[in-house]
């Protein structure tokens, strides 16, 4: 072999050298080109970053709203789960009550996931004052345990909470208005007894009024002590045990052992999602709406970016013609445009994540007041605190970058397919 020939670089060597220097050159050109029209680039970055921030803000808001709604729904009265005798919920039959409460309470005391529980008896009742008559659901509750599970005690607006003394009753404010009664007034409650359905009546004196800020509850509920409720209904057990779990998300996790332990041949234990399926459906819909909002935002980002990139390409058409004329491959031009998109995307994602964090953090501290607004029968009586989710930030950041790159493919292909003579028509 001729030694001189041996010393010459091979085609592969040359190709490898090309690759290294090409990528550096393409990156340099792309980097400088994006700030050629600074105002347009900044506006593009602003468009993308604001869209990203808006998507993340919406996501954090929806998470906060869902959390607030679930908390309101479960902590007000429902609990994160409830135990009933099988068939009670479907039939609303007061004869279907939990008989062996002692064993059940022992089990509940031993389950670590259950923070507190509140036994209840309940029945439809007719309440009669000296002025009026109204139907309501009468609940017999253990005053101490109920206070740990629901917000009944906190909802008291007038008078005193239940103290365990026989004959005391607390009413919703609107029910009291309907019955035209005040604190200390007498009220007769008539119910249908278990084991036969005989009517049972008892006289109560109104010891307190409550308001959950929820019309259906304030006009349709009255509370008496558990023991008197059991006597009134002629039952030895309870109809319902509301559960307060250590963590809200334990209600979703059906793999946890206590769900199996508490679902027996006699007992039915349901999470809040199963108790109020309309709320879970509404929350699922809310998540869909976030997805739709995100999609619309991304479509707008795509269109905006395609427009910007095309404007930039049309402005630089002659320049691309020159680059192609002097030996730049179409592929290199394609990479250059894609790199410009990548740089714009990276800057936009950085700015967008920063903006989103600032606004979401502010929303998570201050909260957004949506009181007086009723959604699906729920009144948001406490502010919505935004919830920042790191995985959403990461996912949306990557998605924005991907959308930016996808938007650049069409303009980049257009530039790469330019014929030099056409691109430079005004010159050579």
């Amino acid at each position: 072999m001729n030694p001189q020939t041996k010393a010459l670089p091979t085609a592969n060597d040359r190709a490898n050298t090309h690759k290294g220097s090409d990528s550096g050159l393409v990156a340099r050109l792309a980097k400088r080109s994006i700030f050629r029209n600074t105002r347009r680039t900044l506006l593009t970055i602003l468009l993308i970053s604001c869209s990203l921030a808006a998507i993340l803000f919406t996501d954090a808001f929806v998470r906060g709203m869902v959390n607030t709604m679930v908390k309101i729904s479960t902590q007000t009265f429902l609990g994160e789960g409830q135990i009933h005798q099988k068939g009670f919920r479907e039939a609303n039959d007061i004869d279907l009550y939990i008989h062996d409460t002692t064993q059940l309470y022992q089990q509940l005391d031993e389950i670590s996931e259950i923070e507190d529980y509140a036994p209840r008896v309940l029945s439809g009742a007719m309440t009669s004052s000296s002025e009026n008559v109204a139907s309501a659901i009468i609940y017999g509750v253990d005053a101490v345990k109920e206070a740990k599970v629901s917000k009944l005690k906190l909802a008291m607006t007038q008078g005193d909470y239940l103290s365990g003394v026989e004959g005391e009753i607390i009413l919703g404010e609107q029910l009291a208005d309907l019955l035209e009664v005040n604190l200390g007034d007498r009220l007769v409650v008539t119910v249908s007894e278990a084991h036969g359905g005989d009517l049972s009546q008892a006289l109560f004196r109104i010891s307190g009024l409550f308001s959950f800020n929820e019309r259906s509850m304030d006009i349709g509920m009255a509370f008496i002590n558990l023991s008197q409720g059991q006597t009134l209904l002629n039952i030895a057990g309870v109809h319902e045990v509301a559960l307060r779990l250590q963590e809200l998300n334990q209600a979703d996790d059906k793999m946890l052992g206590f769900w199996h332990v508490l679902n027996t041949e006699q007992l039915e234990t349901l999470s809040w999602q199963e108790l109020v399926p309309q709320l879970s459906s509404m929350l699922a819909m809310t998540e869909y709406s976030t997805l739709i909002v995100s999609l619309i935002m991304y479509i707008l980002v795509c269109l905006g970016l395609i427009n910007t990139m095309f404007m930039s390409i049309f402005e630089r058409q002659t320049e691309f013609g020159i680059l192609l004329a002097i030996g730049t491959r179409s592929k290199q031009l394609f990479y250059q445009i894609m790199l410009e998109g990548l740089f714009i995307g990276l800057l936009s994602v950085a700015v967008g994540l920063f903006l989103a964090f600032v606004f979401c953090y502010w929303g998570s501290i201050v909260g957004i007041d949506y009181s007086e607004l009723e959604m699906s029968g729920l009144t948001l009586n406490e502010p919505i605190y935004l919830i920042i989710d790191a995985s959403s930030f990461a996912l949306m950041g990557v998605a924005t970058l991907a959308v930016t790159l996808i938007s650049c493919i069409y303009p980049a292909l257009h530039a790469a397919r330019l014929q030099p003579s056409f691109a430079m028509r005004k010159t050579l």
């Binding site: 220097s21 020159i322 030996g327 491959r329 179409s330």
Partner: protein, 246 residues
């Protein structure tokens, strides 16, 4: 004796083929179709040898730019072939053509057409980067060319910071840096004042003579026409005159 004459003729033919850098055969370029058909170039047969300093002249719309674009591989002929360095470029793929232009052709444009985001030095260096030439070799060649075109000390300036004459000098340096066999120049002096244009022309003539590079101009400039060793005249897309001044 007859054999000797035949052999001499054959050697002359071989030498001629070896020296031919540009050859067009029955080159045609049409735009549009039907009633809007425009014949920009019709049956152009041109042969240009290595080291020639050729001017293509003609009135506006005569096909000068079209001919240069076809020779430079910037456009595709409707029919006919273009041979550069004895290679038919008319049937090359896009990538092959890009690489061929990069390695064999230098372009000088009327409007300078430098890359605005690159400095003068980077504009000159660009093609060598595409060729994968080492950093030391690039620096050596750029320094040498900056000196040759009289732009020492201006390497870090962006095109917008240079005068028209300086920009065109950068364009000349860029066209020459890859040591191409052909330099195609489209009215290179049209945007320059007469003195700058004359200086630039002197410089290109010197480079042509010193480095035996082939220059093909399209021009209206009488100064280029005066100095050209060959003038090809186009009228309505047809070559009507081919004058050599050897």
């Amino acid at each position: 004796m007859t054999m000797l004459v035949d052999a001499a003729a054959e050697v002359a033919t071989i030498n001629k083929v070896k020296n031919t850098v540009i050859e067009t055969r029955h080159l045609c370029r049409e735009f549009g179709q039907g009633d809007t058909l425009v014949k920009a170039l019709t049956d152009a047969n041109i042969t240009i040898e290595r080291g020639e300093f050729t001017a293509i002249i003609g009135p506006s719309g005569s096909g000068k730019s079209t001919l240069l674009q076809l020779i430079g591989g910037l456009d595709t002929p409707s029919s006919g072939d273009v041979f550069l360095d004895n290679k038919n470029i008319s049937h090359m793929t896009g990538t092959e053509l890009s690489d061929f232009r990069r390695d064999h052709i230098g372009f000088i444009f009327q409007a300078y057409n430098l890359i605005p985001v690159l400095s003068a030095r980077e504009n000159i260096e660009y093609i060598m980067l595409l060729q994968g030439i080492s950093a030391s070799e690039r620096k050596k060649r750029v320094d040498m060319l900056m000196h040759a075109v009289g732009l020492e000390g201006l390497g870090d300036r962006r095109p917008a910071e240079l005068s028209g004459g300086q920009q065109q000098r950068v364009a000349v340096a860029r066209a020459m840096v890859s040591k191409p066999s052909i330099i195609l120049a489209d009215e290179p002096t049209a945007n320059l004042d007469s003195k700058t244009g004359a200086d630039l022309l002197d410089m290109m003539k010197d480079l042509n003579e010193q480095q035996n590079m082939t220059f093909v101009f399209s021009t209206h400039d009488p100064k280029i026409m005066e100095r050209a060793r060959r003038i090809i005249r186009l009228v309505d897309g047809c070559v009507v005159d081919d004058e050599r001044r050897d």
